[in-house]
Symmetry: C2
Subunit: 317 residues, 2 copies
């Protein structure tokens, strides 16, 4: 049995996870991200003890604790190097938690951990597996030989921060035209709004009601009803996503590439055109075996499951 | 002792290489790329026997043979999947060569093999090491934990075929705006020619003599003499290279990134501005340890040495 903890800006979720990546029991507490680290760590420890107790699992059956952090970690030392919007920088979470529960503690970036979860539930050894997450931002995780690849400093896998076209918007990271600035939900909302501005007859106006209600589904929903302007928005958006996906395949040639995040709920409507573009654009396509594409299957549970599986996968590569 | 073979379109080079990646003896024969595979393989075998004999090394001291191929290989089966401009597709080079010299035979892509060579001569274990080659095309190799990363199908590491800006030229691979279409010698020559067209007073005209003599050094040489137009060409070229380099660092966070190929002869004049751009643009820069940059050190010997080291590094990851 493993404990998986998903540390987010709003809530900290913890779960007891079995060897087959099933959540036995889970619970969450508010993060209170503004608080000092000692309080956050204390809540984390209480949450762990709580889920163990409520799961009915024996404390001695817990073989490790894994934690997914929205930031960069030193997974060997168990230290948070930096954490977005939270006072955990420099905290040795491993040491802190082991004061209460003395089992190995593994840390990693939350996007990497989600990728590990999606890999584990497929339950098939793969040389390379990649997850691209199309959410508020664009993230990703690289799994090589069943382990998270996080570079020599813990910061690898920033798939959202590859420039695909320097005509793009300024990205939060400081560059211009990162994949994230074209292929995130925020980017899609911006693209949708711009298109609505230009076409006052588009049914996107009816679907969204007001501009404030535009979301990542607006253009997709209108496109499915045949709205030409929406179809154009979706077509362009998918071409941006594909540009990043082809770049990643040309670099990694993974057995499988999984797309997650809010936009992945569009399923085949998103995946089929990506596959078509990859067929045309991926290097060596048709000359050797090709990458399989899937939509992520775990949704919000990926954070807990992947963190738990950090123990099973025996750390990182 | 290891045998390394560098298969190129013009010549096949072979060398006897010791455990410390030193070439003991090397020799080359013309490839005759148009010939049937049996003749090419036969020449390869004779070349191997020849370099062993002339090196004075005992045949029984050769522990493996490694071959770098300009194409994609199945390194487990020892088969060439496809080979650029040469009739080796589908040939099981391992089986063919073992008929004459029965030691393990390792195959890999030539750019990957060159990266392995540069890694081996540094003689320091690294979690991730990347070489980017700025030559006629842009190539690269990814070394993870001392082994070549070539994806599940042998075709990974095509660093030159990531789109950095879709305003670029059409690339040979079919995409538009690949790193190769901005940052190769061929691209630099095109950029130099375009700039010379616009500035008839540039000393690049004097340096090159005729348009046919423009090469990858023309703009660099003129820039070093203070020619403004040439400085602009070099500045833009380096910004394209850096765009690719930052993308790669954001994905891999390697301990070291080495730049090779003809343009790497510019040394610090090339490397220093790349470092400056990386400082500004790389994700997590300053927050954790950062990538070290170097110029490749082996030149044309990288092919032989890296191929030989395929045996020492025990294959691929």
């Amino acid at each position: 049995m493993y404990i998986g903890i998903d540390v987010g800006g709003m809530s900290i979720k913890a779960g007891v996870v079995d060897d087959s990546a099933n959540i036995i029991y889970k619970e969450a507490v508010p993060t209170g991200a503004w608080r000092p680290s000692s309080e956050i760590v204390s809540d984390m420890v209480n949450l762990i003890l709580n889920v163990i107790e409520k799961s009915g699992v024996n404390k001695s059956d817990i073989s490790s604790i894994g934690i997914g952090i929205p930031g960069v970690c030193d997974s060997v030392k168990g230290t948070v190097i930096f954490c977005n919007n939270m006072n955990l920088d420099g905290v040795n979470l491993s040491e802190e938690i082991r004061k209460s529960i003395d089992v190995p503690v593994f840390l990693n970036n939350d996007a990497n951990v989600a990728a590990l979860a999606e890999y584990c539930v497929i339950n098939k050894p793969m040389k390379c597996f990649i997850m691209v997450t199309l959410g508020t931002g664009v993230g990703g995780g690289i799994i090589i030989d069943g382990k998270i690849f996080s570079g020599f400093n813990g910061a690898a896998g920033e798939i959202g921060h590859i420039v695909i076209n320097d005509r793009g918007e300024k990205c939060n990271c400081g560059r211009t035209g990162c994949l994230e600035s074209f292929a995130s939900v925020s980017a899609l909302i911006r693209q949708t709004r711009d298109a609505m501005d230009k076409d006052k007859n588009s049914i996107m106006h009816k679907i969204a009601g007001t501009y404030d209600n535009i979301n990542g589904k607006t253009a997709f929903d209108a496109a499915k009803q045949g709205d030409k302007t929406a179809c154009e928005v979706v077509k362009n958006f998918i071409s941006y996503v594909s540009s990043g996906v082809v770049n990643i395949i040309n670099i990694f040639q993974p057995e499988m590439l999984v797309i997650g995040g809010a936009i992945s709920k569009e399923g085949d409507y998103l995946l089929n055109p990506i596959k078509e573009i990859c067929k045309k654009e991926c290097y060596a396509f048709g000359l050797c075996e090709n990458t399989e594409f899937r939509i992520a299957s775990l949704g919000n549970d990926a954070g807990i499951i992947g963190a738990a599986m950090l123990g099973k996968s025996n750390g990182v590569i």
